[in-house]
């Protein structure tokens, strides 16, 4: 079975506050240094970072390797896209139906898929993901189908006299939501519930013997993850100005999964770093060579061989070792 059992969840992952402040400062200052293209890449990194973080709740913490995470991303994106095109404007109000429909979908799918585990879970999620993809592809009247998609979605109206057409302003909106989500997810992970999802990942049988309803724990975790994926999907729609069925395809789910694993499953910062590395590499390498998949493949292999816990996981281990030595 696919297991993340060899992944460590470091007991103490608190970085020194200096590092945290530095990181925050960098994120705030970067838009003033970057070119507009660089800024757009960074915005994308944050959106995908949020997306990958939400998947990490499942993959890294709950131990469910889900292959339809793009469904929630895409369904929320379509919901908001369709409403925007019908004249609804207020961003904050649009978040409600966007996220609600993803939660609803997750609640429904969760009932059907959580009996399977391991490779079977992976495949049944893939199956449902592809069904939703086909729905978006074929339901032309609602989604615009495979060709047109839904174009012409403007930038969000946040009810303040700040134009989101300005890339820097939009970046800060994304940043605020990103940090808010990050803190929220962190809170969930550190809560008793967070402990119980990690316990379920580690040993489901034992959890049941200890009186935990592990099905419910997984179910709730699946729904929470879907909610944050939905937020990322909504932001991505505004960022691109359009949606196409590709946003729901399994290749999107796989792409996010790679970010999580490369960055480090089971650490919250990991998926964000994974998103940054993959997006930036993909854009950099492909500028110089058409053989970029070759290099991506090599990087994966090197990562797996030499940084087995993902980039952040490996760094954390190194850090803990150092701290341990100094004690």
């Amino acid at each position: 079975m696919i297991s993340i059992l060899n992944k460590l969840i470091p007991a103490e992952t608190n970085l020194p506050w200096l590092a945290k402040v530095t990181m925050l400062l960098i994120l705030v200052l970067l838009p003033f240094i970057l070119s507009s293209y660089g800024l757009s890449l960074l915005t994308k990194v944050l959106i995908f970072g949020l997306f990958a973080m939400s998947l990490d709740i499942l993959v890294g913490f709950t131990g469910l390797v889900s292959f339809n995470h793009a469904s929630f991303f895409g369904v929320a994106a379509y919901t908001v896209g369709i409403l925007v095109n019908r004249g609804f404007e207020n961003f904050w109000l649009l978040l409600i139906p966007g996220i609600a429909i993803a939660l609803l979908l997750a609640g429904l799918l969760g009932l059907l898929i959580l009996r399977s585990s391991g490779a079977y879970f992976l495949m049944i999620t893939l199956a449902f993901g592809q069904m939703l993809f086909a729905l978006a592809w074929k339901w032309r009247s609602l989604t615009g189908g495979d060709d047109d998609g839904l174009p012409g979605i403007g930038r969000p109206e946040i009810g303040l006299p700040i134009s989101m057409w300005n890339e820097q302003n939009f970046y800060f909106l994304v940043l605020i939501l990103f940090i808010g989500s990050f803190l929220l997810i962190k809170k969930v992970i550190k809560s008793p519930f967070g402990k119980s999802i990690v316990g379920t990942r580690e040993n489901e049988l034992r959890m049941q013997s200890l009186g935990y309803n592990t099905w419910l724990i997984k179910y709730i975790s699946y729904i929470i993850a879907a909610g944050f994926a939905a937020l990322a999907g909504i932001l991505y729609t505004y960022f691109n100005g359009f949606i196409s069925p590709q946003e729901l395809d399994w290749s999107m789910s796989g792409y996010i999964l790679l970010m999580v694993i490369i960055g480090g499953a089971g650490t919250l910062v990991g998926p964000v770093v994974g998103a940054a590395v993959i997006i930036i590499l993909q854009n950099l390498i492909s500028t110089y060579t058409e053989l970029w998949p070759l290099f991506m493949g090599l990087i994966f292999i090197l990562c797996v061989l030499f940084a087995r816990d993902g980039i952040v996981g490996s760094l954390l281990k190194l850090y803990q070792k150092k701290v341990g030595e100094m004690k």
Partner: protein
């Protein structure tokens, strides 16, 4: 639909299913024994088709291409297993990720060597005709595919049921410790299984070449089908792979006949339904504990 059409479509489903079987057995055995979902399995299939095509262009001999491609890819499989996967012994997730990296690399290597143009493998001339079945034409080549598929299935069955190595493999699916207990070098054993999987996949790539062709993206398209087969049938058994293949072959074929507008999802709908009612596949063991 008249009876002739039903027979033709059944033959279509059977030939397609048995092609999937060639691919799925290896995937299933590798998973059952090593715990690895080999995401590069489709790449072995695709590279098999490309290498086979190259050999045909060189020698004009289809049979030579079939064996040559299968052997070459088996060798590649040995290299991948021996030098990479083995280094990550017992780290299944990392192994899966590794195979994903290889899938990327193989795809680009194929593009590098053979370019991006889609190709088709020529059929061997002696199979390049049609048979008349109740007034409907049916390609002889597909009959040959059915025969070869059944033959391979039989050979594998005999191998697994009637030989000592086969017994070890069957035991290994249930309990890896058993293999060790029988005094078998587990590393060589794993390499052998991986190579066998690659061999069968490449073999399938050449057999399927005249129909599925060879193109970039074939690897992932076929991988998804093979995964569906393996999961529907139940992981780790020859029986599961065989019946899963036939079932998916028929679902695909009759989906194209009866639910023509939903052909892109029939296989997924079927897979979801099966897994909702049988969470470990049709022939999988329900209780793993």
């Amino acid at each position: 639909m008249d009876s002739a059409q039903i027979i033709i479509q059944a033959l279509n489903g059977l030939s397609y299913g048995l092609l999937l079987f060639l691919l799925a057995t290896g995937l299933s055995l590798i998973f059952g024994l090593m715990g690895v979902i080999n995401l590069a399995h489709g790449s072995f299939y695709m590279l098999g088709a490309y290498v086979g095509l190259a050999i045909i262009n060189l020698t004009g001999n289809f049979v030579l291409a079939l064996l040559g491609a299968a052997l070459i890819l088996a060798f590649v499989g040995i290299l991948v297993e021996r030098f990479f996967i083995q280094r990550l012994y017992k780290r299944e997730l990392d192994q899966v990720l590794l195979t994903f990296g290889f899938a990327y690399i193989f795809m680009d290597v194929a593009k590098w060597i053979w370019g991006g143009t889609p190709r088709s493998l020529p059929k061997p001339p002696f199979l390049n005709s049609s048979l008349n079945i109740l007034g409907e034409a049916f390609p002889v080549y597909r009959i040959a595919m059915i025969i070869i598929g059944l033959f391979v299935a039989l050979a594998l069955w005999l191998f697994l049921e009637r030989t000592r190595v086969g017994a070890v493999i069957r035991a290994g699916v249930d309990d890896q410790e058993m293999v060790k207990a029988m005094g078998i070098n587990i590393k060589i054993f794993f390499t052998g299984i991986f190579a066998l999987g690659a061999f069968l996949a490449a073999f399938g790539g050449v057999i399927g070449g005249p129909i599925m062709g060879a193109y970039l993206g074939l690897d992932f398209n076929i991988l998804v089908l093979a995964l569906a087969v393996v999961v529907v049938g139940g992981l780790g058994t020859l029986k599961g792979a065989f019946w899963g293949s036939i079932l998916i072959g028929f679902i695909e074929t009759f989906g194209k006949v009866f639910f023509i507008n939903f052909a892109i999802v029939t296989i997924y709908i079927a897979m979801a339904l099966i897994l909702i009612f049988k969470p470990a596949g049709l022939l999988g063991k329900e209780e793993s504990y």
